[in-house]
Symmetry: D2
Subunit: 306 residues, 4 copies
């Protein structure tokens, strides 16, 4: 196992076929950093434009369209103390008739991210929230590869290539599987959150810069249609689209495919397992494309294998 | 506390302003039964037409429009051994382009619901699922009151009055709050599931008849816009609409109202709590109206109260 | 042909299995009146509660579930001078982020509906709209039958039974076809508009009371899934659901069925005709269910028959 | 007025910040050609990959972000005889439960596009459609500029930059207004249809190669949020998103802005005009993003100006 350290000096705001920032090989581990969504680094200095700047892309030797890239997230660690979040709900997540009750929008708030005690403390004074301290649950808002058809897609949205999915399950210990659309795959990471509610309904998590360590593995000639993931507890698939109905269709369909490939189930078997066991998590519900996640607990799947 | 026993002899297939089956009072506990979605009872005999037949309505003395009805679910217990479920995914929950891969639809399957061991065992032989046994998690698919405007709404869908929400959190130990639209409130229950995956994506849970015990409490002159619930662990709100985006808007908006009423939060405070702490569960995604649930863990809210 | 006159004295606010207001027979013509959406009659007096009060139901002798009811609209004529409309767009039809630019909501405005000159003139003074006069195009916002399953559905929404579809094509000269779900069919009409933009995006047309004359014909043992219509120029089908995507699916599917039944087309033929010739009109986009209309010009269909 | 002729030798399949194919100036007229959606040219030879290949980009001297580009379509003329269309409806435009009735998909069909007689005649034999001849109504399926944020967006979808909108109103005589996001604007055109039904529900129009002639005008320091258009008869705005509800919100909001800027209307005036006069047309309903068009007849707007 080779560990490659990479300190970015420039960033991208699209997932696209950009020049490789670092070339890595199947089995490599990468240690790098990400700036926060506003382009601020570990020193809390603005080093690039805001809007989910991405670290990368990492060119994976031998990756070709039709392969799958497995990214094992080993370390996702805030590397400074100040985080920030929005204090206003996104306009699209409340009843249109109620929006007037939420105006005017409040300014963002800061958080003190304390790794030692494992919490983020709300700074400043918000009515009713004095001393609010929430458990840290670091996650990557953005992870993905270069999209199909030589597109360059904004890091403020998502698609089959991954992107700004804002799923709380993209945390240390998870392995994420991404479809490869271009030679080298071209992996990008960014938009770390110290913690975040499901849906990212305020339009931000607790935004912060990260130290990141991940390992890559290349699965040759195995294609997937949507990102997939594995944690110690569960398997999951991610669908990205609007409305949520369609995101859910994508995630469910991808889980059907996975069950049919990996567990020798037919359509009826997949329907029984999904119908009686599936759970769904909400990823981003703020971007142009929303994210829904279909999840199955490993405990159940062990039963299947038996 | 008065316990009233009620054995239904007829059933409704709409939530509507129907004649009271039993008159109960604030504080009463009711012991009754529900038939399964197909109209079969504890003896597995067809006693009424299929299509989510409902037990009730229960007229609550003193309930008036603008009140809230609190229903504490005490016992939800399958009262026979045979359950059944669909073995086909609903057509609307997979990618349209993939539907051809799932045809033809497979016939329903039976389950042996074993209260002693706490599992449902799949009967018959489905490829890859031999011996599948899933933990019981009994829940009510249908619970609601007579809707506004003297409507009569099918028990195959949902709305502000509740209805066929198919939420796994509607289980013993939960208190559900329902808006009162008509004199007497007119509570209905039905559609018990021994267990069910989120979304009820196969169009059924493990359908079975139930013994049900619940207590009612009337909250005078407190109105809510959408159903709410409380369990030992969490508070939640349920939004019912299509697409899921709108169901989510309803649930989120209702949670904002709850936080503002009960926790002295302003719009910014509610946005911070929901933005960084909310979780979402998927209820029914098969009916004309879908259900999304916004959930907040009590552990957090205790912090707010302090 | 028998002409029956019916002057309503009470009104309904649901499409439901209500007691017949008048019994009519296949081939009868009915002359009646409708109050406006606010419950005001030809004398501009409030005679019933607001909220799309309906005239009817008309019991059609011999109508049974599985039949189709054809309603030929002969006269739809405003029967007073004052109309009114909203001066605010519905909250759900503009970008959520833009809603703040439209607040506060403006009060409704009156119109002088002048049958002699064929226009409605905006009363009062609205900036930039002095002297605005729009051509009359009278239409019925509400038309439908009692829904399936003994439901009673608010006249503020729509479904397979018709309802508050707010389609500008429901005008004199049009024949509307409605599925029969209950014995007697139970036809209701109401919510006349002197004119209206597509979508009813302000939540109202120019609301006014009507004299209405229509003829009914019963088509035995021919069932349709969604309302259909015929005018001198076109055939159309109406789908009612949210989001518009689903309403469009319903309308398109119903048109496919019609083409296959009536024009001896197979799936490929229907796809070619719809793919290259269909037009779509937007009905109501304000209610819980939206309406989309799939339309084919008769000129084309004549070609097919040849 | 300068006329520039441009014969493309290579094509793009994204709207992006690609190298200029031709530099043009404010006031120039361009004569060029487009290949069909499958990459076939006037000689019906495959000269590039399929998937809506685009001609361009045309760099407009002096165009900067925040400007608006006006493109007057002067000539859109099929330049060969053979067109083709799909004979299967897109899977997403019919009820999911009905899809099985449409399988298996039929192969595409050819059309004889006859400019002299002004019709396209269906070639081959499709049941019930013998001799079908439809009036030509040539339109551009793809027109747009380089998107914001240096994105490169597939020519199989659409956005604020325009794209594959498949709107029948994009025909000769129309002037389309596009927001400028990058220096030079970078205009692309492609995907000509000899005719097409609204929504492009079969996934194609009658696809064919075109001779195209258009003039450009640069409107400095006037920004628009979504594409707009003017024809002899009407003004219109185009919203691109999924679901149709959101596309409609974009189109309606853009029309409100236009009315407020150009006709001295306030929010109430815009609501009255749109509420009582707007019409909606369906553009593409097949791509990842759908297109809805809000349209106002000029006859009315003349009244406003008076």
């Amino acid at each position: 196992m080779r560990v490659q350290r990479f300190q970015p000096t420039s960033y991208h705001r699209t997932f696209g076929t950009h020049e490789a920032a670092l070339r890595i090989a199947d089995g490599d581990v990468v240690e790098t950093t990400t700036v926060d969504a506003a382009g601020r680094d570990a020193a809390d200095e603005a080093v690039t434009d805001p809007g989910n700047p991405l670290t990368g892309p990492f060119w994976v030797e031998g990756a070709e369209p039709g392969d799958t890239l497995a990214v094992r997230l080993e370390v996702l660690r805030p590397n400074r103390r100040r985080g920030f979040s929005s204090a206003s709900l996104a306009a699209n997540v409340v009843d249109p008739e109620y929006l007037g009750e939420l105006a005017p929008a409040a300014p963002p708030v800061d958080w003190d991210v304390d790794l030692a005690s494992g919490v983020a403390r709300l700074a400043g004074s918000v009515r009713g929230l004095a001393g609010l301290a929430l458990p840290l649950a670091p996650m990557l808002g953005c992870i993905g590869v270069a999209p199909a058809r030589a597109q360059a897609i904004s890091s403020a949205t998502s698609g089959p290539h991954g992107g700004n999915m804002d799923y709380r399950g993209v945390r240390a210990g998870t392995t994420l599987f991404l479809p490869v659309f271009t030679e080298g795959a071209l992996l990008f990471v960014g938009d770390g959150h110290a913690l975040q509610g499901a849906g990212e309904l305020a339009g931000t998590g607790v935004e912060i810069s990260f130290d990141v360590r991940f390992g890559v593995r290349l699965v040759k000639r195995r294609s997937i249609a949507w990102p997939r993931g594995e944690s110690d507890d569960a398997l999951f698939t991610l669908g990205n689209a609007r409305p949520l109905d369609q995101a859910t269709q994508h995630a469910t369909t991808e889980m059907v495919r996975w069950l049919r490939e990996a567990y020798d189930l037919d359509a009826a078997g997949a329907a029984i397992v999904i119908g009686q066991c599936a759970e769904f998590d909400l990823g981003n519900m703020y971007d142009p494309a929303f994210t829904m996640v279909c999840r199955l607990e490993r405990a159940l799947l062990a039963a299947l294998a038996g």
